[in-house]
C-alpha cells in the first residue's frame, strides 16, 4: 500500500493527489474527504497547532490499521497547520482501492480517527478574542463505531 502523509502549512492540489493514487492504474475507486474552515459570523482566523513527530507517527499508525482492515492500494493524508481563513481547506484524506465500498469505509475510518487521535488543536479568533475549540464527544462516538466492526 502506497502511503503519503504530510503535515504542512501549504494548501494541496486535489487533482495531483488523486492522480498520484491512480498512476499505477491498480485502483478504479478513490474516496476523498476534505475538511474546510466554515464561514461563521465573526470567525476571522483558525490557527492549527500540532505535536510535531507524534502527528506523523500517529497518522502512520492509523493508516496502517486501515490497511489491515480493508484492501487498499494507496492512502494520502495531508493536514494543514498554522493560520487558516474561513473557506480554506484544512485536511485531505484520499483512499484508493479496487473496491469502492472499501475506499469509502477506510476514508471515513481515517477521518474519525484523525479527529480523535491525531494531536492537532484548533484555536479560533473572533472579533479580537481567541479561544480553543472544544473536542466534540460526537467524534469519540464516531470513532468508537469502528471497534465493533
Amino acid at each position: 500500500m502506497q502511503t503519503r502523509i504530510h503535515v504542512q502549512h501549504e494548501d494541496f492540489d486535489l487533482n495531483a493527489e488523486v492522480a498520484n493514487l491512480t498512476t499505477d492504474g491498480e485502483a478504479g475507486a478513490v474516496a476523498s474527504f476534505t475538511g474546510h474552515v466554515r464561514k461563521e459570523g465573526d470567525l476571522s482566523t483558525l490557527t492549527l497547532e500540532h505535536y510535531p513527530h507524534m502527528t506523523e507517527a500517529e497518522i502512520t499508525r492509523i493508516v496502517s490499521e486501515a490497511g489491515t482492515r480493508w484492501p487498499l492500494t494507496g492512502v494520502t493524508v495531508i493536514h494543514r497547520v498554522g493560520s487558516l481563513k474561513p473557506g480554506d481547506r484544512i485536511v485531505l484524506v484520499a483512499v484508493a482501492s479496487q473496491h469502492r465500498h472499501a475506499a469509502f469505509q477506510a476514508c471515513e475510518y481515517l477521518m474519525d480517527y484523525l479527529k480523535t487521535h491525531a494531536p492537532f488543536w484548533k484555536e479560533e479568533a473572533r472579533s479580537g478574542t481567541r479561544h480553543w475549540v472544544e473536542h466534540r464527544h460526537s467524534d469519540d462516538d464516531a470513532a468508537k463505531r469502528w471497534n465493533s466492526k
Binding site: G35, L48, E49, H50, Y51, H53, M54, A57, E58, H79, I90, V91, M111, L114, K115, T116, H117, A118, P119, F120, W121, K122, E123, W132, V133, E134, H135, R136, D139
Partner: protein, 81 residues
C-alpha cells in the same frame, strides 16, 4: 525527562517545553509533582478530565509508568481534522 505542553495547557503553564527529573514513576504522580511547582501548573492540571497524555509520542493513560528518559506531553483532547 522532557516535558511538552500544547494548546491551552502550554498557555496556562507559560512554556512549551522543559526538562525536569522529578522523583516520580507514573503519570499521576508526575502531575501531582507539577501541580506543586506553582499556581500556573495547578491551574493547567485543575481538571484532569480535560487533560490527555502522550509518552514518547504515543497516547497513554494517567496510570502509565514514566521514567527519566521519557518524552511526556500534556495537552487537551485533540481537535484536528
Amino acid at each position: 525527562m522532557i516535558l511538552l505542553y500544547f494548546a491551552w495547557v502550554r498557555q496556562k503553564i507559560g512554556k512549551s517545553e522543559e526538562s525536569l527529573t522529578p522523583p516520580v514513576t507514573d503519570v499521576a504522580s508526575l502531575i501531582a509533582h507539577l501541580k506543586s511547582l506553582g499556581p500556573n501548573y495547578a491551574e493547567a492540571f485543575a481538571d484532569l478530565n480535560r487533560i490527555r497524555v502522550a509518552i514518547n509520542q504515543r497516547h497513554a493513560g494517567l496510570d502509565a509508568p514514566v521514567g527519566p528518559d521519557d518524552e511526556v506531553a500534556f495537552f487537551p483532547p485533540v481537535t484536528g481534522g
